[in-house]
């Protein structure tokens, strides 16, 4: 709503805040459960109540999950795989964002036959279930010599990010004031000139949306990470799965929760820090359709 209304403390406002606060409480419940149980010693979890505050606080589970938990045969904790994930996510997000921007630019600022068909085809690609992709992509990666490498994982994630990144940028650039582009062209700007000097500098909101979306999806991706990596390159989702889904032994639930949280920290940070820009980016005509 664009107008400021008087925001006095009427019954309406109280009700509004009450509703919001209860909803917020409900939304925080799962994370509360995770965090609270990640700082309890194991016997408290076994005997006590899931939602109770710890009687005895301990940071051990976090330390264990980070550096000494058994992920396989060796007790390395999640740390080395944290690094693997960054090595995967940063290039993948950068490349897929650039590709999306390029595609969005081409699809909206140029006329050519079949442009809309191509866009629709790219858009439909977001629906492909990853299980279908597994065997043929494995073959492709093998042929390309990328099997088991981080480069291969980057490639796979970029390919399946093309649909969404193109969508985001295409809708954004479709709403971009055309006069700016035409006047730049009349001033002699060439293909890259328009892209790098006119479009991209004003694309901050949609770049944020794209980066957040891709970062989250690629960081949290499991199937490709487990199937196309080898012992040296598998990401943190695979490591977390190994931590949490072990089949025997005492299930150290507190370590599991700490580990799950550690694995979620980068994406949580990204969301919390850029949440405001996220909404702004969506506002700027990005996913309005």
């Amino acid at each position: 709503m664009a107008e400021r209304r008087s925001t006095g403390i009427g019954p309406d406002r109280i009700l509004l805040y009450a509703v919001l606060l209860s909803l917020a409480f409900l939304f925080l419940l799962p994370v509360y459960v995770m965090v609270v149980n990640s700082v309890k010693p194991l016997d408290e979890i076994r005997s006590g109540n899931l939602m109770a505050l710890p009687i005895e606080w301990t940071i051990e589970p976090w330390l264990t999950a980070w550096s000494t938990a058994q992920i396989g045969v060796q007790p390395t904790g999640l740390r080395p795989y944290f690094v693997n994930s960054f090595l995967l996510v940063v290039p993948a997000v950068a490349i897929s964002t650039l590709v999306g921007a390029l595609n969005g630019y081409i699809l909206t600022q140029f006329r050519f036959r079949g442009a809309h068909v191509l866009f629709a085809a790219m858009l439909f690609s977001v629906f492909i279930p990853f299980q279908i992709v597994l065997i043929p992509m494995a073959k492709t990666l093998g042929v390309l010599g990328l099997a088991g490498t981080v480069k291969g994982l980057v490639f796979v994630n970029v390919v399946y990010g093309i649909g969404f990144t193109t969508l985001f940028f295409r809708n954004y650039y479709a709403a971009f004031p055309h006069e700016l582009v035409s006047s730049a062209r009349m001033d002699g700007a060439d293909f890259f000139g328009v892209l790098f000097r006119i479009l991209l500098p004003s694309s901050a909101p949609i770049i944020v949306v794209t980066v957040i979306w891709q970062f989250t999806n690629i960081w949290n991706e499991f199937l490709f990470g487990a199937s196309f990596s080898d012992f040296s390159s598998f990401p943190i989702t695979v490591a977390l799965n190994n931590l949490v889904n072990s089949s025997t032994g005492v299930k150290e639930y507190n370590v599991h929760f700490a580990g799950a949280f550690i694995a979620a920290i980068p994406t949580l940070v990204v969301y919390l820090v850029s949440g405001k820009y996220f909404v702004r980016g969506l506002m700027a005509g990005s996913v309005k359709g």
């Binding site: 990853f130 043929p136 929760f257 949280f261 405001k276 996220f278």
Partner: protein, 288 residues
């Protein structure tokens, strides 16, 4: 501006990759569904045997009916809640950023994390029910997750929790993009807040509804990790979704051709639902 060679050239890698790695692989899957592949792809011809076997599987029918229940509830509830949250937050509240972050953060979590956290909460032995009993509310019962008929609703709960914030962000952006003049004009005419929302703002959010639907439908189809982490398809097989079916038959039960057949069915269903939206997109582009 008419496209010269350069734009077309620069677009072609993406086109090629999508052509091969999406449509090519879909063709491969369609072919596999007509073979008798078991552990790995077999390049023979088995006619429609796999489809016949697919339709004879009770697991498939359970998965389909679950998808119907899950998708309609998930999409419906997430849209209603997302819009509702957006309207609430749009009321110039203090700490808007905080509320927005609280509703949005679940999207940052991986499905494994979401599933595990909710599995605990919903477990009657250790979660919500147990806590309520401890607090004195003895008759509180919330053992849905252990009930064959109700477990699918637990999947809905977890999925809605995960994505409502994102839908809220979409609607919030849409709400704030509505022309301010129309709203002031309506106010001058004496319209109440809820009337303004109902008659002016929401009708203009059509494109946002469509985007939300596309994103939610896409997540509903792909919901594999969440189901496995939350219920592992159980109790028994009662929370199977087609994505679970496809994974299980292709990779665990060594019936790859049946898994491929289920994938083809899923893609056909997705196509039916999404194609109208794609056509409208194409139409929009064509008409400027």
């Amino acid at each position: 501006m008419r496209a010269g060679a350069l734009p077309k050239l620069l677009l072609s890698p993406s086109v090629l990759l999508v052509l091969v790695c999406v449509y090519g692989y879909i063709m491969f899957t369609i072919y596999l569904s007509f073979t008798s592949s078991m552990l790995m792809p077999l390049y023979d011809w088995a006619g429609t045997a796999s489809y016949q076997r697919l339709f004879a599987q009770e697991n498939w029918h359970v998965a389909l009916s679950n998808l119907w229940v899950f998708a309609s509830l998930y999409i419906g509830v997430a849209v209603v809640l997302g819009l509702g949250f957006a309207i609430l937050i749009d009321q110039h509240i203090r700490a808007e950023g905080m509320f927005r972050s609280i509703f949005l953060y679940p999207m940052a979590l991986s499905f494994i994390v979401t599933g595990t956290a909710w599995k605990w909460l919903l477990d009657p032995g250790v979660g919500l029910e147990h806590t309520m009993h401890d607090l004195g509310w003895e008759s509180f019962a919330f053992g849905w997750i252990k009930d064959s008929d109700m477990a699918i609703y637990c999947v809905v709960i977890a999925a809605v929790w995960q994505t409502t914030g994102f839908v809220m962000a979409l609607f919030l952006a849409g709400l704030r993009g509505v022309d301010a003049e129309q709203i002031s004009a309506a106010r001058v005419d004496g319209a109440r807040t809820w009337q303004i929302y109902l008659h002016i703002i929401i009708p203009q959010l059509g494109p946002v509804f469509v985007s939300a639907f596309v994103i939610l439908a896409h997540m509903a189809i792909k919901s594999y990790d969440l189901v496995i982490a939350l219920t592992n398809g159980g109790p028994g097989r009662s929370t199977w979704l087609p994505s679970v079916f496809m994974y299980q038959y292709s990779f665990t039960r060594n019936e790859m051709s049946v898994g491929a057949a289920s994938a083809v069915m899923m893609l056909a269903a997705i196509g039916l639902v999404v194609l109208p939206y794609l056509f409208s997109e194409m139409h929009k582009v064509k008409n400027g």
